[in-house]
């Protein structure tokens, strides 16, 4: 009880110093949390991918397409429930800074294969019936103020021209992690236009999204698909949606590693700052610790006082940092929704933040604790005055 009282009072003995240290730890833990959330977000596509979906693409490269005739052949392979063509459209809305992912997809296949995109029956019907119809995520619609029935023009980059769409559905994600910043439109609209303008590029699918009946047999189905097109002009490479997403993540892995390193560097920096503060604090109190030892207190009492104070300050800063992370993440999610479809702080991140704070407090106190606990009384008392 005494030790707790002593630790608490000591922690706030120099109020400004304590406040600055707690603030420093809080900012570091907040930054650590946001960076870890960003890293987690990078893998969001991987985590939210469905085990019942496969992606078939051209075996040479994603840049090359596959004939639309493959769709029926894929559908007939045992274990396949659905197959739908999808093309990355790469359209720009007004200017490049308004970037959002946009795809041409086959509406019925899309509705069947992506149950995580929630649309009302009326919206689904509207999308299926309107060749120029588009379905957009709620966040994207909010960003641009789009409503059902609005006309939206995208400027084609891969497929030149001005492309006009009518918003027929605004989807919500089934989970909070579902990306609500995407734009989907009818693949037939794209294909028919291409037939008129660039016929050689028509009837080509960028990829096929394939539904499988049994996720446990996904590998066998993928092999069967690839075997079907072996030695053809466009051989396929079929993989799970997760593996497909991971291949994108791998392209930017260096950035992720850099962000991870920065997140650890932030912790190391605050660890050094906290260690310096604790060393300064312990040095100032050496005569006090010597007095306590004179009165009969032993090294472990002194060690507990220094260690406890360091841990208390770090945990206080850590808790402040953790509480600050949530509004900061909400702010990022709101203000930068075009870049981050979601910015959700996970429980794992919070646990990591608290662990980092404890590590900071414990590590920062090692040297001061050792010094205070092992100081010779006669030497410590000489510091008086």
């Amino acid at each position: 009880m005494f030790m707790l009282k002593y630790i608490l009072r000591n922690a706030f003995r120099h109020k400004l110093r304590a406040l600055l240290t707690v603030t420093g730890v809080a900012i570091a833990i907040l930054a650590f949390g946001l960076l870890r959330t960003l890293v987690g977000l990078w893998y969001l596509g991987v985590e939210s991918s469905s085990s019942t979906r496969l992606v078939a693409r051209n075996a040479i490269s994603l840049v090359f397409s596959l004939p639309i005739s493959y769709k029926e052949r894929i559908r007939q392979i045992p274990g396949v429930t659905k197959a739908g063509a999808m093309n990355w459209f790469g359209g720009i809305y007004i200017s490049e800074k308004n970037f959002f992912p946009n795809f041409a997809i086959e509406p019925q296949a899309f509705l069947d294969l992506y149950p995580e995109f929630l649309l009302s029956p009326e919206e689904q019907k509207g999308f299926l019936l309107d060749r120029q119809g588009a379905v957009v995520g709620q966040k994207l619609a909010n960003t641009h103020g789009w409503k059902l029935g609005d006309r939206v023009i995208l400027k084609g980059t891969i497929f030149p021209g001005q492309w006009e769409f009518v918003i027929r559905g605004i989807y919500r994600g089934a989970q909070r992690s579902t990306d609500e910043t995407q734009f989907f439109f009818n693949w037939d609209y794209l294909n028919e236009s291409l037939r008129r303008t660039i016929p050689r590029r028509a009837d080509q699918a960028g990829i096929y999204i394939v539904g499988v009946a049994n996720p446990e047999k996904a590998a066998e189905v993928a092999q069967a698909i690839d075997a079907s097109f072996k030695n053809s002009l466009a051989e396929t490479m079929t993989e799970t949606e997760k593996a497909f997403q991971l291949s994108f993540v791998a392209m930017t892995e260096a950035i992720m590693i850099a962000i991870k390193i920065v997140s650890y560097v932030v912790i190391v920096i605050i660890m050094v700052v906290a260690a310096n503060t604790m060393a300064m604090t312990a040095r100032e109190r050496i005569s006090e610790y010597a007095t306590l030892k004179t009165l009969g207190f032993q090294w472990h009492h002194i060690a507990a006082a220094v260690f406890g104070e360091s841990l208390f300050i770090a945990i206080l800063g850590g808790i402040a940092g953790i509480f600050g992370t949530f509004p900061a993440a909400l702010f990022i999610e709101k203000e930068l929704s075009q870049f981050f479809p979601t910015f959700q702080v996970t429980t794992t991140t919070t646990v990591l933040q608290l662990s980092a704070a404890i590590l900071v407090g414990a590590t920062a106190s090692i040297f001061p604790t050792w010094r205070a606990a092992t100081i010779r009384i006669a030497v410590g008392l000489r510091r008086i005055g």
Binding site: R9, S287, E288, T294, L295, G296, F297, Q298, L381
Partner: protein, 228 residues
Amino acid sequence: MAANSDIVTIRNVTKSYRRGSQIVPVLEDISFSIQSGEFLALMGPSGSGKSTLLNLIAGIDKVDSGSIIIGGCEITTLSETELARWRAVNVGFVFQFYNLIPVLTAYENVELPLLLTRLSRRERREHVEAALEIVNLADRMDHRPSQLSGGQQQRVAIARAIVTDPAILVADEPTGDLDRVSAGEILSLMDHLVQDFDKTIIMVTHDPRAAEKAHIIRHLEKGLLTDR
């Protein structure tokens, strides 16, 4: 302990410090005894070794050779842990700069040595209040050291020194940081502890007026005891 028996026996004590590669002798072959209930003043110029001798008697430093027997216990053979326990029970400390813990109140400072005992909270309170009553500071028990004058702080330090009822009090320049009036009050209080509570006090001082209060004055010069 019976009155007038030796409570402190020092035999052939030597102590030196290492300063870089040099060994500096501080105390050389010191032998003397202190009887129970005595008020002894150790005097001498700076660097004569008087504070070192006090530290050795109080068990907060170790001799190079020789022995110190206090109340029948040879403290020179005790380990650090045993010494810590021994100090907590047998010796009270009074320092020049009071050495109170600034974040604790007068009451909490006086209670410190009792936290190492098995006394209950209520028993501790009784002891602390009694000690503060003796030093006439019962009305200031909730004050922190910064809210007390130098003389009052030293009285709190004396209350802390006597709260466990030790046989010996060691005081290193107890009036060194006080004005004349406060110094007089502290010395009277120490005399009161010897006269009325049968404490043995060993005090290091530069101040001849403080030494006058002592029953016996011992002089140290260059690590040797000299009688005047």
